[in-house]
């Protein structure tokens, strides 16, 4: 009965109620959206590397090493000499080691030199290996395997020719040694999707006629000659390591960090990621704070509309009283109306969020490489929605109490 009264009363004031509900729903959608992006970003970062025990590179910061070696964000301060690499590779604790050489690019995508072991050893999303969508791994010196996004953006198929550019944003290209796409990887949702993978020897091969970052004029070694050359790298950017026994990880890490011949750094990917979260955490908290304030503002706006509606509903309340409604019923009616508004707002907010996700998901993935999963609301989100409804009830108590008191004092007549 009272529910019908409340919903009827809300319908009667459809416009103001609608605006209030809209404000609540937008604020809820914003709050949950921020939450989704936050957890999505965290998960997609954490899913990027798995199964690698240590990452080694030149001594810098652990977060920096993680960012440039795994996420291709930023650049290495220094390279890692091939001698040190081989020295570490020969250590008894090392089960496998995969070198990574960065620094060249193809269009907007980075080129990574590595060994075929990369395809076996690199794991993402709790141990999932890389899979070929098309073609095969490199079999020739000038073969390349490209990530799914590279293929999709540039429209490459297996067999397509590729010219690698020197450096990351440069016009000088390694034109005399074109590559051929030999394989395209399955989409992974990691930076591998946006990487052009070539062999370590190929990185050396395209730099044969280069010195100090520029091509030696007039000199162009024929491809046949390059194929005959011993293409051993001088230096690499970083290396991924798997150890034989987990019990040896820390010992190996310490000895690499104390490696006397070259300043090296070995990091545990999980620990470095956690350091990264500590840095990002402040901004995260600020974002959550701001979006929570938006929810609070919307609820206060709802309180204001209820307050302002009290005057125009004085006569209505007085009629209820005359019909035998107790003052408590008046109070309950107003709180119920507020709860209804908040609940509709929150539900609409959830709907908005999922519509937004459906529309925005491919775009966010393309633009930022961030995969936002569309899942049923988490427990935390359910609590947020319930919290908004409860908060709606709480803020309505003040105007409801006022109505309660007024309905005791007011008669049928409205004095003007």
């Amino acid at each position: 009965m009272i529910l019908r009264l409340a919903s009827g009363s809300l319908f009667a004031r459809a416009l103001t109620v609608g605006m209030t509900v809209l404000a609540v729903s937008l604020s809820v959608a914003l709050f949950l959206g921020v939450e989704k992006v936050r957890t999505g970003a965290k998960a997609s970062f954490a899913d990027t590397i798995s199964g690698t025990d240590l990452i080694i590179g030149a001594r810098s910061g652990s977060v920096q090493l993680l960012l440039y070696s795994v996420f291709r964000i930023g650049n290495a301060t220094n390279n890692l000499t091939w001698e040190s690499y081989q020295d570490i590779a020969a250590r008894p604790e090392v089960d496998w080691i995969v070198p990574i050489s960065l620094g060249d690019s193809h269009r907007q995508f980075r080129v990574m030199g590595t060994t075929p072991a990369f395809f076996d050893r690199y794991r993402y999303r709790s141990g999932q290996p890389l899979a070929m969508r098309d073609g095969a791994t490199m079999s020739d010196l000038f073969d390349t395997v490209i990530g799914a996004d590279v293929a999709a953006t540039l429209g490459y198929d297996v067999g397509a020719p590729i010219v690698v550019a020197h450096g990351l944003a440069s016009f000088s290209e390694h034109e005399d040694q074109p590559f051929r796409v030999s394989g395209i990887l399955e989409k992974t949702g990691t930076p591998v999707d946006r990487t052009v993978i070539i062999s370590l020897e190929a990185i050396e091969a395209i730099h044969v006629d280069w010195q100090s970052g520029a091509q030696i004029p007039g000199q162009s070694t024929p491809v046949d000659v390059i194929r005959q050359m011993k293409l051993e790298p001088q230096a690499i950017t970083a290396a991924l390591i798997g150890v034989k026994s987990r019990l040896q990880v820390f010992g190996l890490q310490r000895s690499i960090n104390e490696y006397p011949q070259e300043p090296l750094l070995a990091i545990l990917p999980g620990v470095a990621l956690q350091e990264l979260w500590q840095i990002v955490g402040i901004a995260e908290t600020a974002l959550i704070g701001v979006s929570a304030m938006v929810v609070v503002t919307a609820l206060i706006g709802m309180m204001a509309t209820i307050f302002s509606s009290l005057n125009e509903r004085r006569r209505e309340m007085a009629i209820f009283r005359a019909m035998g409604a107790r003052p408590r019923v008046i109070l309950g009616l107003l709180v119920l109306e507020a709860v209804l508004m908040a609940a509709i707002g929150a539900a609409l907010g959830l709907a908005l969020l999922y519509i937004g996700l459906l529309i925005g998901q491919p775009f966010v993935d393309r633009a930022f490489g961030l995969w936002l999963p569309i899942q049923a609301p988490t427990l935390r989100e359910v609590w947020v929605v319930l919290g908004v409804v409860a908060a709606g009830a709480v803020v309505s108590i003040a105007p409801a109490l006022r109505a309660y008191r007024m309905s005791l004092a007011d008669g049928m007549m409205v004095r003007i």
Binding site: S50, D53, S245, R246, L247, Q248, V249, F250, G251, R254, E258, P260, Q261, P263, L268, P269, G270, V271, Q274, E275
Partner: protein, 200 residues
Amino acid sequence: MKLLPCLALSVLAASHIFADENRQLDAHEHGVGQLDIAFEGQRIAMELHAPGADIVGFEYVAESAEDRAAVDAAVATLARPLDLFVLADAAGCSVVQASAELESEAGHGDHHEDHGDEHEEGKHDQGDHVAHESDGDHTEFHAEYLLNCADPSAVAVITFAYFDVFPNALEVEVQVISDTGATSFEVERDAPVLDLRGMF
């Protein structure tokens, strides 16, 4: 906030004493130790590094009988890991191997000053916080443990009695690696408990 301990950076010390090509020193922060824990199967490997200042209160070479006794006692204490890092009885852990030693940072024992007293004063002047160039006269205790546990997943919480035993220790930076990956924690004197639930 926690008392900011004297920080001796790993400076490439521009000291004439070092004629070698390679000059590097480890970071060394008084009050802060490092503990690495690795879980594999039924075995747990732990490695502790703690500044001499935390364990015995000084970092000069122990020459008096009293100081030597303190170092010996500390090494003996550090060789009993289950008294320092208390594991749940349900895990059924026993020590397979434990070793502890005192190591000097760069082995320049002949060039040391008495840093010990300076660091122990509760209140520092601003000037004392300056990261001073170390000539390598910091010492560190290093201990390695190998435990065997009937049920390692029952090691959900580790209580750090370490802080009760060594009153100068303020914090331990913990790195843990298990089946679920690697992560890090900070265990402080105020809350000497390491919660490893979620690591199994």
